[in-house]
């Protein structure tokens, strides 16, 4: 009999990439103009620098794939992957299944930042120079810093940090509501920001998010084994020779940075950070060695498909993506919960 410790098996990883590829091809091919999967693949290869492939598409269709849909699919992928992996990491760091990446006030802070920018007419919708995502990002990081400060005063325990996060989130939401009430003409625009979208104007949004995605994901991947050790609680983790507080703060800072960057370009997309990690747990087990990488892949795929639904279900109008993730995600989650026989928490 062979005994093997938990690790990410090549087959599982390949399955994750396959699901992501299917989602990307569907996201690029489906829409008002339908494009065959094979042509999409050729156009995708052709879009790589230094490679050329003949997709057999007209230049308009190729432009639709490469210039209209591809940035949007990439943005959806990055946002979904970041929110999912951040959720998984937060759940591991706090040893709590109900935690999402917004626990320490990322969403409330970003909401306040965006509301201030929108009501002051700072937004120009022009990508790199647009102050709305920047302000949202600053608000999100401010909220996390505030939560850490308040939690530290409250006694440095994990529970006091969680409670501080709840207090900070409520406080900032109240501020946001006040700012919005005082500028009710901006109500519609703020509301639409809050519901979330992965709309793009060219490549600026994905490129804005990319560096944060890379850093956050690299840190969380590096700490995947440490999160498995943290699962036995702080005292035992310490007795095994690690510093649980240090692990927690590194993981939480990386996850918060990623989540802050994701919500600042896409708005407050809920549910992804909880549902995707749990689906992975129910399907592939609870080890963070498996959970962290697969949350990235499945989170990306889930968001690409959710955005596909958001822009095609009620054509030519678009559904807010936050509505789609919850509307499709919740029933899907219940089905997975029903089918799985694992006890994951």
């Amino acid at each position: 009999m062979t005994i093997e410790p938990a690790r990410l098996r090549a087959g599982t990883l390949a399955a994750g990439f396959a699901v992501l590829l299917v989602a990307v091809v569907a996201g690029l091919g489906l829409g008002p103009v339908g494009i065959a999967p094979q042509a999409v693949l050729y156009a995708l290869v052709d879009a790589l620098p230094g490679v050329s492939a003949d997709s057999g598409l007209s230049s308009i269709h190729e432009a639709i794939v490469q210039e209209v849909r591809l940035p949007r699919v990439v943005l959806g992928l990055l946002v979904g992957a970041t929110l999912s992996v951040s959720g998984a990491a937060y759940q591991g760091a706090f040893r709590n299944p109900l935690v999402d990446p917004y626990l320490l006030g990322v969403a409330a802070g970003a909401g306040l930042g965006a509301t201030i920018a929108i009501t002051q007419n700072l937004g120009d919708g022009s990508g790199f120079t647009d102050l709305v995502p920047l302000s949202a990002f600053a608000g999100a990081l401010f909220a996390v810093a505030l939560s850490y400060g308040a939690g530290y005063i409250g006694g440095r325990s994990t529970a006091s940090l969680v409670l501080a996060g709840v207090a900070v989130a409520s406080f900032l939401t109240a501020c946001q509501t006040y700012v919005l009430q005082a500028n009710s003409d901006a109500f519609r625009e703020v509301y639409s920001w809050i519901l979330g979208r992965v709309a793009t104007s060219g490549w600026s949004e994905p490129l804005l998010l990319l560096p944060y995605f890379v850093v956050a994901v690299a840190v969380m991947l590096r700490y995947r084994r440490a999160l498995d050790i943290l699962a036995v609680g702080d005292e035992e983790a310490q007795a095994l020779g690690i510093d649980p507080r240090r692990v927690r703060i590194h993981v939480v800072v990386a996850a918060s940075l990623g989540a802050a960057a994701a919500v600042s370009v896409s708005g407050l997309i809920g549910f992804v950070g909880i549902i995707v990690p749990h689906v992975v747990r129910l399907s592939f087990g609870t080890s963070y060695r498996v959970l962290i990488p697969l949350s990235i892949l499945f989170g990306g795929a889930f968001m690409v498909l959710a955005d596909l639904a958001a822009r095609t279900l009620v054509e030519p109008a678009e559904l807010p993506i936050g509505v789609v993730t919850a509307f499709l995600g919740a029933p899907f989650f219940v089905v997975v919960l029903r089918m799985s026989r694992r006890e994951v928490w």
Partner: protein, 259 residues
């Protein structure tokens, strides 16, 4: 094989003094049982030796003060009274956690890590459980799995916090016999807290009585476990029956209740 020395050990938690000057010497290869009434600070004493709570005083293991958690974890392995069993974790992965002090938190498992874990699993008759979830096991099996994790640390000192609570009589003996066998086999030093005074007398070399934040008495079981000492520190009325293999502590007839 390291000896353990603690001197002037003082611990206060939330402003309350728990340990007020504990002096402790455990020779290499010795088995010491720490007894004491509820709240005497037995667990706190183990935790200070482990370095998981703030304390004053000096702790030397094998003649060295080990400040880095990783260094301590290579020498001291801990079996908590109520270990946290993560949901969905398999026995093999749980035992592999014991390799953390050797592997570090970022590195992947080496072949040696896996070999050690498999060796420990078979030594504790757990090989058949490797692919089971720890949570699905019975209390006795679980206790062996936690012990297996501690052994996978390949530490020379084993700290056991109430290893027999929640176990029936047979499993209590199984676990302590197992520890005794491993101690002889691998030359381990064992420090255990025990509630059951008869068991404490039966296993191990020496007993230390912890009360009011100090070690008030330490020595062979027959020296420490007298009816007077137990009456004074546990508030219990007991009779001591001296058997050839150690004293047996039985509750005296319930005069105390009638009185």
């Amino acid at each position: 094989m390291p000896s353990i020395t603690a001197s002037g050990l003082v611990v206060a938690l939330g402003g309350t003094s728990i340990l007020s000057g504990v002096e402790l010497n455990v020779a290499a290869g010795e088995w010491l049982n720490i007894i004491g009434p509820n709240g005497a600070g037995k667990t706190t004493l183990l935790r200070s030796l482990l370095g998981t709570i703030d304390h004053e005083g000096r702790i030397e293991i094998g003649g060295f003060e080990l400040d880095k958690p990783q260094d301590r974890a290579r020498v001291l392995a801990y079996v908590p009274q109520s270990p946290v069993i993560p949901p969905g974790m398999y026995v093999v992965d749980y035992v592999m956690l014991g390799r953390t002090p050797h592997r570090g938190i970022f590195a992947r498992d080496t072949d040696t890590d896996v070999e050690v874990a498999i060796d420990v699993l078979s030594r504790l008759d757990l090989a058949g459980f490797a692919e089971r979830e720890v949570r699905s096991l019975s209390g006795g099996e679980r206790q062996r799995v936690v012990l297996a994790r501690a052994l996978a640390q390949q530490a020379d000192v084993l700290l056991l916090d109430e290893p027999t609570t929640a176990l029936d009589l047979g499993h209590q003996q199984d676990v302590l016999d197992l520890v005794d066998g491993l101690r002889r086999e691998r030359g381990l030093t064992v420090i255990a807290t025990l509630h059951d005074l008869t068991l404490a007398a039966r296993y191990g070399d020496r007993i230390a009585l912890l009360a009011d934040g100090r070690i008030v008495k330490s020595g062979a079981p027959t020296e420490v476990l007298t009816a007077d000492v137990i009456a004074e520190h546990f508030g219990a009325n007991v009779r001591i029956i001296n058997e050839p293999d150690g004293p047996v502590i039985v509750p005296a007839s319930p005069e105390r209740i009638r009185r």
